[in-house]
């Protein structure tokens, strides 16, 4: 026989104001199976919880209904209390008398009537509840970090220093990401390479980190604690175990005119190359698109030059399956392609460049050895125009959002230019200066006041190239209220930050949400900023939103701490609200398998003792199932039931309302 206890909460006045709690309690006491009914001002408080615990013991309750707020708020609280009194926590249900009743109704009599119904429904349900037990899933205490920029490096180092193994997957031949390409960093003008490269070396030499450079995630199976990730190790054509990185090969490579990705197309590289001298790992790969040996079958210069015999033209991509317990996505950003802006030359003019190209021009290791020389003729520009918000804050042609870092790096660019070309003019067109950050506003003031950058508030309407090579920049100074024309030698566009190409495919593989711009979605914008909707997958850096280095590093450390938290226990405990297939009636039509948004339903073969397949059915993977119920709705023969929300429970709720 069911012995149900009903506990009504006034929620201060939140429920009590609109619902006559005493009347609901009296009605509940008369419901079949109810042996105990009380109301109290704050059921979630310590005395309230004590009332529940005491009644469970004294009245030998087999089920509890708490009529209070939303179960999202306090179901864990009350279930914990029930468990402490020795009752299986899943024998406790909540009626939401606040959000579903008192907050949305005014008529006290009708609201009270509805509250009685809401309680009765749950009393009927709880009579059909079964004891459920948390599901324990073992955790593989190895993390995978996808992306080897500063965010990925930081996350990997933090996890590794926490004592757990890390696989760092980077798609290009070297880690370092965009930060390795920067000349100096705001607001301190630290040399980017000087602060980054020691970290890169630390990654390579850390005993807990396995670096998989020139590799990409191919596919993902599994779930939190137990992901099976297949990584494609791209063919390098160089046996890195033999290679010493001496450089004889690229010195001999006859293909020397390939635009260097690292130098943003301003420098050149060979077909066998390492992206930059400080690369980690400091070993070359062969670019199969440009290598003559790989495309035409003759050359072999590098193989001849290599004294270690490390060159292997028959190298193939290799697929490696790796088991990891958690994943940090740190895939970073790209610059928006400003060729969409026809009025800025549409990408036709060599001297209209983007921020990365300017970084390479200003960098001591760049193609001009740190002298600012414009790409078209190598002359030192006397007037440079910087245009902020190129593609940002423009929902018609570009992106609606603010790219956040451009105000600061443009101020830095102007500063670096003025430090190198003292008599030059740096003119900056801006919409607003957004310098929120420690030392940021001071930095911008310094660019204006100490270094004489000319800030013009206004948009540039058009840039055209005069026959003598000058770029005529036509804009408006909206503070002075007059049109403005600048004859520039070089124009630097602060292009919008966009997610890496291919980041959407990666998100789909991991089951991570992304917004309309392709940035990965965090689980909660304020309270869960590094988690995603996919359990065990965390975010770091600009893949989530435009970020500067300090923010990316902070988020990476936060993601690492989440990973370490997850790995601090050998097993994962999760709510047992999962679907179950009735294998007697399942006909294996596979509709549920297609419908499951979590890939949690698998084909299963029932075999007899001799190993013959007797029947094929669908089976739910307990670790993956999120209890959403989609399969329950899709199953034509009604062969799937959801623990905690079984057909019988739902049916009894509906029937009691008739």
């Amino acid at each position: 026989m069911a012995r149900v206890g009903v506990f009504l909460c006034h929620c201060g006045e939140n429920i009590g104001r609109t619902v006559d709690c005493a009347a609901v309690t009296a009605a509940a006491a008369k419901m079949p199976g109810v042996v105990h009914a009380v109301d109290y001002k704050y059921m979630c408080s310590d005395p309230g919880q004590q009332m529940i615990k005491q009644a469970i013991v004294e009245k030998k309750l087999t089920g509890v209904v708490v009529g209070a707020c939303s179960p999202r708020m306090h179901e864990p609280t009350f279930r914990r209390a029930a468990a402490e009194a020795g009752l299986n926590p899943f024998l406790l249900e909540m009626s939401n008398l606040r959000e579903h009743c008192s907050w949305v109704h005014e008529d006290r009599a009708k609201a009270t009537e509805k509250a009685v119904d809401l309680v009765r429904v749950m009393v009927e349900k709880v009579k059909h509840n079964r004891k459920l037990h948390s599901i324990r899933v073992p955790i593989e205490p190895t993390a995978m970090v996808v992306g080897g920029g500063i965010a990925g490096i930081q996350a990997a180092l933090d996890i590794a220093n926490g004592g757990k193994k890390v696989i760092l997957v980077e798609k290009s031949p070297s880690i370092g990401g965009h930060m390795a390409r920067l000349s100096e960093t705001f607001p301190t003008l630290d040399c980017s390479q000087c602060i980054l490269t020691p970290r890169m070396v630390e990654v390579a030499s850390h005993p807990n980190i396995t670096l998989m450079a020139y590799s990409e995630v191919e596919s993902v199976e599994g779930f939190v604690g137990n992901f099976d990730v297949t990584v494609r190790k791209k063919a390098r054509y160089v046996d890195w175990s033999k290679c010493t990185g001496c450089g004889d090969c690229w010195a001999k490579c006859p293909v020397k005119k390939i635009p260097s990705e690292f130098d943003a197309g301003l420098g050149k590289r060979t077909a066998i190359y390492r992206p930059f001298p400080q690369a980690v790992p400091n070993k070359p790969v062969i670019d199969q698109e440009h290598c003559i040996m790989l495309t035409k079958g003759k050359c072999g210069a590098c193989a001849k030059a290599c004294q270690r015999g490390a060159i292997n033209y028959k190298d193939q991509d290799e697929l490696v399956k790796i088991k990891v317990g958690a994943v940090v996505l740190a895939t970073g950003f790209d610059l928006w392609d400003h060729s969409a802006y026809g009025e800025y030359g549409g990408g036709r003019w060599a001297d209209v460049i983007d921020g990365f190209q300017f970084e390479r021009l200003a960098s001591a290791s760049g193609p001009t050895d740190g002298e600012i020389r414009r790409p078209s003729d190598g002359r030192i520009p006397q007037t440079v125009v910087f245009i902020q918000c190129c593609g940002s804050r423009d929902d018609k042609m570009g992106k609606a959002y603010c790219s956040k870092i451009c105000c600061m790096y443009t101020a830095k660019h102007a500063m670096l230019y003025k430090h190198k070309v003292h008599e030059g003019r740096a003119v900056i067109f801006y919409m607003d200066i957004r310098a929120g950050g420690k030392g940021y506003e001071e930095f911008v003031r310094r660019a204006i006041e100490a270094d004489g950058a000319e800030y013009v508030r206004g948009r540039v309407s058009r840039i055209y190239r005069r026959a003598d090579g000058k770029l005529i920049v036509k804009g408006a100074d909206t503070l002075a209220g007059r049109p403005m024309t600048v004859e520039a030698d070089l124009v630097v566009l602060a292009d919008a930050i966009v997610p890496r190409t291919g980041s959407e495919r990666l998100a789909q593989m991991f089951g991570v949400g992304y917004d309309t711009d392709g940035f990965y979605s965090e689980a909660h914008p304020k309270l869960r900023p590094v988690e995603t909707s996919a359990a065990g997958v965390f975010l770091a850096g600009a893949c989530q939103a435009p970020k500067d280095i300090p923010d990316a590093v902070s988020q990476a450390s936060a993601a690492a701490s989440k990973v370490l938290g997850l790995f601090s226990k050998p097993e994962l405990e999760r709510e047992p609200i999962i679907a179950r297939v009735n294998e007697n009636t399942c006909v294996h039509c596979r509709a549920c398998i297609a419908a499951c948004p979590y890939g949690a339903i698998e084909d299963f073969e029932i075999k007899d003792r001799k190993g013959n397949v007797v029947k094929r059915v669908a089976r739910v993977n307990e670790g993956l199932c999120q209890g959403c119920g989609t399969c329950v709705a899709i199953c034509r023969s009604n062969s799937i039931d959801l623990d905690g929300f079984t057909d019988e429970q739902v049916f009894s709720e509906i029937v009691t309302l008739e």
């Binding site: 006909v587 509709a591 297609a594 419908a595 094929r616 023969s637 057909d647």
Partner: protein, 270 residues
């Protein structure tokens, strides 16, 4: 050679050389056509095929008692062939489970492997359409008000005796335990009246939305003359409009109601 002679010859041949253990075809019983299970080549001469063959023989392929006979070769019209493709897409039939004696419109396509069925359908019968009379009936029904339509169907469903002949005739209704027979809890009343009748007929139609291949066997089987094909074709048209797909042409097809992709429009969320 007459079509029926070719069919009989093929049936005898697949049985004689052991490619199939049983041929599932039709026999004449006066004006009526009944299924015939031929297990020896010498009985193949009893097979008939004409317009009076209404039953969809694909329905027998999943019956345990038929499976016991061994591999079957089934006589199938284009609509029945679509049923075979549907069963393949729902993992109910695999590559060498059966052979097909493929009877087309006005011609006979010989013995096919299951894998050859979908290509034949796409090449020759991609534009298989319901009869003009049926389409006219649908238009007439669409012109009515929702209340009139509800009244129309209430009247039709009231005739239902819950004999489930429609279900038994349908190759798509292969569940071993139909939802209507689930009694813990009993979602659908089994009494042959009122709500139960309405629920049963609507759920049957919904379970076939995007899956009905238009063979008409259910309506032919209904002793009460309920126009089931009206409902089936109507839902088929909706599915074709919304999902741009027709059941029974692609053995790799994902179930329409259960599949999704990130590019799906969400215009139903206001």
């Amino acid at each position: 050679m007459e079509m029926i002679d070719a069919l009989r010859a093929d049936a005898a041949k697949v049985l004689a050389d052991g490619r199939a253990k049983v041929v599932i075809g039709y026999q004449a019983r006066g004006d009526h056509r009944a299924p015939l299970f031929v297990t020896t080549a010498d009985r193949a001469a009893s097979l008939v095929y004409d317009d009076a063959c209404k039953q969809n023989l694909a329905v027998y392929l999943r019956k345990p008692e038929v499976k016991l006979l061994g591999k079957a070769a089934v006589v199938a019209s284009p609509a029945a062939m679509r049923s075979l493709v549907l069963l393949m897409s729902e993992s109910q039939l695999t590559g060498d489970d059966a052979l097909v004696l493929a009877v087309g419109v006005g011609e006979y396509h010989g013995v096919l492997e299951l894998a050859q069925v979908a290509p034949l359908l796409k090449e020759k019968y991609a534009a298989l359409a319901p009869s003009p009379e049926l389409l006219r009936e649908i238009e007439k029904l669409a012109a009515k008000t929702p209340e009139e339509r509800a009244a129309f169907w209430a009247k039709q469903f009231a005739k239902c005796t819950r004999c489930y002949a429609c279900r038994a005739a349908c190759p798509g209704c292969y569940c071993t335990r139909c939802i209507v027979e689930k009694n813990v809890p009993q979602w659908i009343s089994t009494a042959a009246a009122g709500h139960g009748n309405y629920a049963w007929n609507v759920i049957r139609a919904f379970h076939l939305a995007g899956r009905c291949t238009g063979c008409g066997a259910c309506e032919a089987a209904c002793p009460q003359g309920i126009p089931l094909m009206l409902l089936n074709v109507l839902l088929g048209q909706e599915v074709e409009k919304e999902f741009e797909t027709k059941a029974g042409y692609d053995p790799e097809a994902k179930p329409v109601i259960g599949s999704w992709n990130p590019e799906d429009e969400e215009d139903f969320i206001k």
